[in-house]
Amino acid sequence: MAKSIDVSDVNIYYGDFLAVEGVNMTIRAKSVTAFIGPSGCGKSTVLRSLNRMHEVIPGARVEGKIVVDGQDLYAPEVDPVAVRRQVGMVFQRPNPFPTMSIYENVISGLRLNSKRMNKSTADGVVEKSLRGANLWNEVKDRLNKPGAGLSGGQQQRLCIARAIAVQPDVLLMDEPCSALDPISTSAIEDLIHELKSDYTIVIVTHNMQQAARVSDETGFFNLKATGEPGRLVEFNPTKKMFSNPDESATEAYISGRFG
């Protein structure tokens, strides 16, 4: 199920503006890869290009190759909708559908794609996904209550359950804990550890301790200078990154002596 991603010579534009330049990396299957770096350096842009979500913004486009399981995501015959079914995403702010119950939220990825299934299959998917997101015990007695009534941390785990219910190969997380308190954050981090055995996970975070705690490999993004495009400065195993980085810029950023 989990698949690796090869990113080669990727440039990302918004209209004429080159946002990210020359990214090369290999994201390993069944591992957690963290993207760190200052605001505006293109981490989220690169993350969103991995499931073609950045195309939601008019004028955004990608040059280069992003290959998942031998298939270039940006080949002309590839449908972005199909890519997003394969590569799921969890956002910075929890965004359960306000019109749907907890149950409907989990199953929404299947329902909205009008997949036919009987009640027991649907029940099975909901329970499995909620268990997978460590939320089952908290909500099993109120599955028909609105998803918007949960706490922020529960909502975010509901969104993770929703993302894994469609059984993607890859799970992208865009600062999934930045709107949460420390207890919810630690619940999500534990969850990421467990999900690693089934999914390839890429996470953007501003929290370097979080990157060190959850990830196997880390990519450090930075701007060359103000107004210049962002680039991938260093991509290495997290242990090496946080103890003995290759680049002095990484060292400066991680130790807080930035700029």
């Binding site: 008019p58 997003r84 965004n95 909205l112 794609n113």
Partner: protein, 379 residues
């Protein structure tokens, strides 16, 4: 945690004991003895007391031979001056200003309510006696007038018919235009042009919409004087479309992009996202806006006079023959209030006006109820 509690406990106690306790008792009137520092507070009954005083002033002036209107105005001015001045004496400058502005705002509100209250009172008082079962179920054909009381059934039927036709035409066009503007055309030149045209349409005088429908059906039917309910529906739809587009557009804009992105990220195509996520999230506001637009056109008169004509019998055929609607019935009947049966026509006009107001109010209430029923819940 417990350390913090220990520290904050006594802290809170001192601060709460330090705050001066408010005196709200109604029996303390005027400044308290020795209170000069602007720390005082007007009694709760202050406004009522001054109000009584102002009424007394006005009554006295009236008794002294002043006209009613000048007396009331002077009483009001007395209130407007006395209340803040008292406040300034007892309280402080900021509170006095607050009280002055509060009085002015309430005055504006009362002035705005006077015409509305007077209108509703008059229509109910004069229209209610006219209303009976026969009034609502009879038309004005010769047979109904001989056998019963005669009534406005044909106008009720016509109002329903014309409004439903208008809604059938305007709602799909309006909703789909708004969906295109928000979801597909956002920021494009065509969208800017369409938004501008919709704004222009909002300002079309209703008589022009009627003329358009009249000319249109003259050409289509080849008749010199087209009379048909569909024509009225087209004219009203023309007035309704911009209202619907505007209302739905605003509602769709309120749906957070987060939800669209969440749906896209699940591999849901854009059109399904719109149908299954965006529209359901906004449905409460959409239904409310559409219902209000219907209520708005249900009372139109001018365009209908041109194209639907007048009728004294019920005509359910939308494609042929004149129909009567409540507004056109009211307008047409005004010519007859002077003649032999003038009193009966006058009663009928007031009754019809009351029925029309009740229908429009009912639609507004329905809009509110639907809005709260469909609104996303969190509990």
């Amino acid at each position: 945690m417990s350390d913090h509690d220990d520290l904050s406990g006594p802290d809170l106690a001192t601060s709460s004991s330090g705050v001066p306790v408010d005196v709200l008792d109604g029996d303390i009137v005027g400044p308290r003895p020795g209170d000069t520092g602007g720390q005082g507070r007007l009694p709760r009954m202050a406004a009522a007391l001054i109000g009584v005083g102002a009424v007394a002033v006005a009554g006295l002036l009236w008794l002294l031979g002043l006209g009613l209107l000048p007396a009331v105005l002077l009483g009001y001015v007395a209130f407007l001056v006395a209340f803040p001045v008292w406040s300034l004496a007892v309280e402080n400058r900021r509170k006095a200003t607050d009280r002055l502005v509060t009085v002015l705002v309430w005055t504006a509100f009362a002035l705005a309510m006077i015409p509305l209250g007077s209108l509703i009172w008059t229509v109910v008082r004069r229209g209610a006696p006219a209303i009976s079962v026969g009034f609502l179920t009879d038309d004005l054909s010769g047979r109904a007038l001989i056998e019963g009381t005669g009534g406005i059934a044909m106008a009720l039927a016509g109002t329903v018919l014309v409004t439903v036709i208008a809604a059938i035409i305007a709602i799909p066009i309006g909703v789909l235009t708004a969906v295109w503007l928000v979801e597909y055309g956002k920021g494009s030149r065509l969208a800017t042009v369409i938004t501008f045209l919709v704004d222009v349409m909002t300002g079309i005088p209703s008589i022009v919409a009627g003329l358009f429908a009249f000319a249109f059906f003259q050409v289509v039917l080849g008749a010199p004087l087209p009379r048909l309910a569909v024509g009225g529906g087209v004219a009203l739809a023309l007035l309704m479309i911009p209202t619907v587009v505007r209302a739905v557009e605003e509602m769709l804009k309120l749906v957070p992009d987060d939800l669209r992105e969440a749906s896209y990220a699940l591999g849901v195509p854009k059109w399904r996202t719109i149908v299954k996520v965006v529209l359901p999230t906004a449905v409460a506001g959409i239904v409310t806006g559409v219902t209000l637009a219907i209520a708005r056109v249900a009372g139109e008169t001018a365009p209908l006079l041109l194209i639907v004509g007048t009728a004294y019998t019920t005509n359910w055929n939308p494609f042929d023959g004149a129909v009567s609607t409540l507004p056109t019935f009211i307008y047409g009947s005004l010519n007859r209030t002077g003649g032999q049966y003038g009193a009966a026509w006058t009663d009928a006009v007031w009754g019809a006006a009351l029925v029309l107001i009740v229908i429009v109010m009912a639609l507004n209430v329905v809009a509110r109820v639907i809005g709260s029923v469909f609104a996303p819940k969190t509990k």
